[in-house]
């Protein structure tokens, strides 16, 4: 695992890309040098001497470009709203790279990957997709959003060479319903065509109920799925034991043991 740094970074840009969705670009040479797709960083929103909000925000790495890191995030509360107000020229303290990335297997081969993104769960999946395509894999990317205004990254994923399908909960774009319906539909056609969905790997990131359903779908079809989890998190480095997730072998930490887990490991219904 690469060395972690708590780096004070310049904000290069912080652009709104859709309703409530932003991309923050920071200059983070030390973190960028060690980061891989699927890893995350932890961003301090408060000013250096302030005490509130005390806890950092964990954000999936969207892009790694030279010395720059981009983070795609959705404004969901006070912390992310404050983050969205940080303009170019400001500094932010960022800790990373944290956690483990996706496992993409050996390059080459003609394997297929189905990438499932729910809402801003798309963030860590874009650079994953680019890597998979670079490695010679075929990628089908399923985007699920609440409404058409929240569909992001579709154009760039197509440009990268992925086949992109969209669903929205309100039906304003693509298929109406959850992205997991889209996944089931897609697998049905693949199964009938190729007679085996087992050679296909699923990668998913999004809200927990979505990941649970993805996991169920994968299990039913004896497919492998990697899911990237979100959790209430404090330290990000495995010290506080706060971001526990129940697995078949006991509690594990999302920050240190994840955030990417094999879907079969997770005990979805804890209580």
């Amino acid at each position: 695992m690469g060395k972690k740094t708590d780096e004070i970074c310049d904000v290069a840009s912080n652009k709104k890309i859709a309703e409530d969705h932003f991309i923050l670009e920071i200059t983070a040479p030390k973190i960028a040098k060690n980061a891989v797709p699927g890893q995350f960083v932890s961003v301090q929103v408060r000013e250096e001497r302030a005490t509130d909000p005390l806890i950092r925000i964990p954000l999936g790495i969207y892009r790694i470009k030279g010395k720059k890191l981009s983070l795609l995030y959705k404004v969901v509360g006070r912390g992310t709203r404050m983050l969205s107000e940080k303009k170019k020229g400001k500094k932010v303290r960022v800790l990373g790279p944290l956690g483990n990335g996706f496992m993409t297997g050996a390059p080459g081969g003609k394997e297929k990957a189905v990438v499932v993104a729910g809402g801003h769960g798309v963030a860590p999946l874009v650079s994953l997709t680019e890597k998979l395509i670079k490695d010679g894999k075929r990628v089908v990317f399923l985007i699920g959003a609440r409404t058409k205004k929240h569909v992001v990254c579709d154009a760039e994923l197509r440009k990268a060479g992925a086949r992109v399908c969209v669903s929205t909960e309100d039906g304003t774009r693509g298929k109406k319903g959850y992205v997991t319906e889209l996944l089931k539909e897609y697998l049905k056609t693949t199964e009938s065509k190729e007679k085996k969905a087992q050679g296909v790997t699923i990668y998913a990131c999004g809200p927990k109920p979505m990941l649970e359903e993805v996991s169920r779908i994968a299990k039913e079809r004896k497919m492998k799925a990697q899911v990237s989890l979100d959790a209430y998190m404090v330290c990000g480095i495995g010290a506080c034991l706060g971001c526990a997730v129940k697995t078949t072998t006991g509690y594990k930490m999302v920050c240190k043991d994840g955030p990417v887990f094999g879907s079969e490991e997770i005990v979805w219904k804890e209580r």
């Binding site: 708590d6 005490t51 005390l54 209430y232 404090v234 330290c235 010290a239 706060g242 509690y251 804890e270």
Partner: protein
């Protein structure tokens, strides 16, 4: 400048220690600071038997603080003594084990295991984790009951080879009474405070934000209350005090020491800024220099009141 402090007859290179449960076993922090610069590392609390910990969510943010209900997740004292402690002892600083239990016997057993081949420099007795229930007392926490506190400390003191530190809860009417009980039973020092009971609710779902419903509040939000607890004990009980509660910078360290602490522990701040201890130590040294105080020991209890 002399930063050394002596507690329980043991010399520490400086008065800034890492608090239990906020510093892992040290190795999580090697990318961010030189562990040998830390005055002491208090390891995560261990219990006689391994514990899975509480249900999730285990942490939640609150104004200038956080609530946690980790529930003493740990692999047990045997694992700690065999696998973790020997590695920690190579970090070039003092290592303090932290133990907890559900009966006097369990505390004593832990102390016995820690008196074997690899021994810590001191043992902190966690009588005050707000997230687990203790037997052996009518109260929720051992450290809410002076009698239970006395019995545990006395029993551990008999068994332990290392100096012992009693970590107390602030969730009591008279903290000095508990501190006196611990001292009379043989505690070499008192750490205060552990977290304050607290809870947070999501009004939209009407559900508690912690899986365990209630948890312990830490961070700068509790600092004034913690400073007051230190001062109360300093005034009334002649015992070495390790102050804990929301320390984020060098002036906060000074505040605790002026109130009567001989050393301090940095807790929540480690979790939000992993390299913080180096910065805080630097700031504390700058403070002493500015105040023309040549020894860290010389400011202990120097609170000026009245005229």
């Amino acid at each position: 400048m002399d930063l050394t402090v002596t507690i329980g007859g043991m010399k520490f290179k400086n008065p800034l220690w890492a608090a239990s449960g906020t510093f892992g076993c040290g190795k999580e922090f090697v990318d961010f600071l030189d562990l040998s610069e830390v005055g002491a590392i208090v390891a995560k609390t261990v219990t006689l038997n391994p514990r899975e910990g509480n249900s999730t969510p285990r942490v939640v943010e609150t104004p200038s603080g956080m609530l946690n209900s980790i529930g003493l997740e740990n692999k047990g004292v045997e694992h700690f003594a065999a696998e973790v402690l020997p590695e920690m002892k190579r970090y070039g600083t003092r290592v303090i084990a932290s133990i907890s239990g559900f009966s006097r016997q369990e505390f004593v057993e832990c102390a016995r295991v820690l008196s074997g081949k690899s021994t810590p420099d001191a043992i902190e007795i966690n009588l005050s984790c707000p997230n687990v229930r203790h037997g052996h007392t009518k109260c929720l926490l051992m450290a809410q009951d002076p009698k239970a506190t006395k019995e545990v400390i006395r029993a551990v003191k008999k068994r332990a080879k290392a100096p012992i530190i009693a970590k107390l809860t602030p969730n009591v009417t008279d903290i000095a009474e508990i501190a006196r009980a611990a001292k009379d039973a043989g505690a070499d020092a008192i750490s205060l405070v552990n977290t304050y009971f607290g809870m947070a609710i999501d009004p939209l779902t009407m559900r508690p934000l912690l899986g365990n419903v209630v948890g312990g509040l830490s961070g700068p939000a509790i600092r004034p209350m913690a400073v007051k607890a230190v001062w109360e004990v300093y005034k009334k009980v002649k015992v070495a005090i390790i102050g804990i509660g929301g320390i984020m910078n060098g002036l906060d360290v000074a505040e605790f020491m002026i109130a009567g602490a001989n050393a301090v522990q940095i807790g929540t701040t480690n979790l939000v800024e992993p390299g913080a201890m180096t910065r805080i130590l630097r700031e504390y040294k700058e403070y002493l220099k500015k105040m023309k105080i040549s020894s860290a020991r010389n400011i202990v209890g120097r609170l000026k009141t009245g005229g």
